[in-house]
Symmetry: C2
Subunit: 323 residues, 2 copies
């Protein structure tokens, strides 16, 4: 028997957007609201008012429904800071770390982020995520074959490469590739050819330049990107690269280096299942880069926040488990 009545108010409240869903017992979307009210852009920083504007009508219709939010809303700059749960972590550990806050109209549970502590033995550095853990939980529920032994890559401003074993997030690294691209494009000498250029690049030229960047990152091998980054400028000066394709080349260099670095750090990854999670266009770029590293046909999974929120709500006892 399918449960089609409302069972959960679920929110993914990030840095730049606020997405909210009214979900039934199967995690199907009964209603939704998307606003550009990420925690950096919430009108007047008034989280309570934004929350009421988005979920108020659902709350009136369903006074008893649990409400759950993941993402940066639980960070220091958000509504209330929720302490990180330590990796390795599974859905249960994350559910145990929920913090309930009074919103003025109801009680809202906030999902904790996950912190990986440093490890003197392995040399691992600390890492943090907030929001991605919920998507990872969602992916494991939706794709059980990825929950045993896999590498889940979440491209973005701060890309995460997460190791999954036996339905647990066992460790992860962060690559600041998206932010690095943005600050180099806007503020460094490398963005200048494109900033001064009136021409637009063609799709083909852009993909070719991207591939050259990936290939150069791969060819650099253990020397890494340090001696290659300047080639975004020097190849333009040498007439090898057009100004209008220079940002695509920079993107290829940076994403190529992320893939090279992450796979080098992991050692033999051939036994691991690999999947990309996130924005489709960006995931396709990563898939294109991964193909240079003998990882063709990597699966792309779109946003898994809803499944993750539903699963965490069940583990926390906020909603009944699906039958």
């Amino acid at each position: 028997m399918t449960d089609t009545s409302a069972r959960l108010i679920a929110l993914d409240w990030g840095t730049s957007t606020l997405r909210a869903w009214l979900l039934d017992g199967e995690g199907q979307i009964l209603d939704h609201r998307h606003e550009p009210w990420g925690i950096l852009h919430t009108p007047e920083g008034d989280f309570a008012r934004a929350y009421q504007a988005v979920v108020g009508s659902w709350r009136e219709a369903h006074p008893e429904l649990p409400a759950l939010a993941c993402g940066m809303i639980g960070s220091r700059g958000g509504w209330q800071e929720v302490p990180y749960v330590a990796a390795p972590a599974d859905a249960n550990a994350i559910a145990t770390g929920l913090v309930k806050i009074d919103t003025g109209i109801d009680r809202l549970s906030l999902v904790p982020g996950v912190m990986q502590h440093s490890d003197a033995v392995t040399g691992a550095l600390p890492n943090v995520m907030r929001g991605e853990e919920t998507q990872l939980i969602g992916v494991m529920v939706r794709y059980p074959e990825l929950s045993k032994d896999s590498l889940l890559v979440m491209p973005g401003t701060h890309s995460k490469w997460a190791r999954i074993e036996d339905e647990r997030l066992v460790g992860f690294t962060t690559h600041m590739t998206g932010e690095l691209y943005a600050v180099l494009r806007e503020h460094s000498i490398l963005g200048r050819p494109a900033r001064e250029c009136q021409e637009e690049t063609s799709e083909t030229a852009s993909l070719n330049a991207f591939d050259e960047g990936v290939k150069n990152a791969l060819d650099a091998g253990s020397a890494g990107l340090s001696g290659q980054l300047f080639s975004v400028r020097s190849r333009v000066l040498a007439g090898e690269l057009s100004p209008e394709s220079s940002l695509a080349y920079l993107s290829g260099l940076l994403i190529g280096e992320e893939v090279r670095s992450a796979t080098a750090a992991l050692g033999d990854t051939s036994r691991l299942r690999l999947a990309l999670i996130g924005d489709d266009a960006l995931c396709r770029r990563y898939a294109r880069a991964l193909a240079h590293f003998e990882c063709p046909d990597v699966e792309i999974i779109h946003d898994a926040s809803i499944s993750g929120l539903m699963t965490i709500a069940r583990h926390a006892g906020l909603t009944a488990a699906a039958r």
Copy 2:
């Protein structure tokens, strides 16, 4: 017999400063002027007026003296673009590439930069320098033992690692470490802890944090910096790194990665003589980083522009060779 009469008007006209010297036949300084009139800061962009203000009185006293300038003044954004000379290049090749311009009060020779073209066989990417070639020529004249087979490192906004063989600059790489540090400090999330912090770090804490950065870059090995950069933030969040020491740690990570990358690309460097050329405080930081990579006691050489300008002037026949 020592020649103590004026023989050369020499200028190092870079991005941020203009330095000019009146030199005798031995390259001794008879007079000098330093102005903050680099090509990005020349008043009203009027190079002729700036030039006249700086060298006018010398020119009146010595109407026949040759004048020679190196640096960004010969770039596209400078007075007149001087085509690059191709690497490998020696003092003679550089002298052959001089371009004479009419300044309104005299004729000024501009030193060309050096371009390394890409090489499909070695995988070398293009690289350019403008100003550093003159310093390298000066170093070879002053330190003949470095002119045979050495690695000359010039830290800065765009650090250069130059391979010298038989008095020739045979190849070089560029590492944008200084610029990367500046844009990450000012514009990325990594600079935020320090930007928000009122405390000042102690010298000892700063050096310790720098060393931790260098060590982490070294420990990353072939995985490189991509997965480590975020640790500037995550180590602060984890309570391992104080906000006021976070920029010193970032500096250590970036300089450490430059040294790791450059030495990895060169293979066995144990037979090479190594020297650092440039600003004393920055060279000391690099020497400190190099010590982590089994390169202790690296010699530090201060500005060698004057020797280089004198040598290039002689090779160009502008001044007589010293006896």
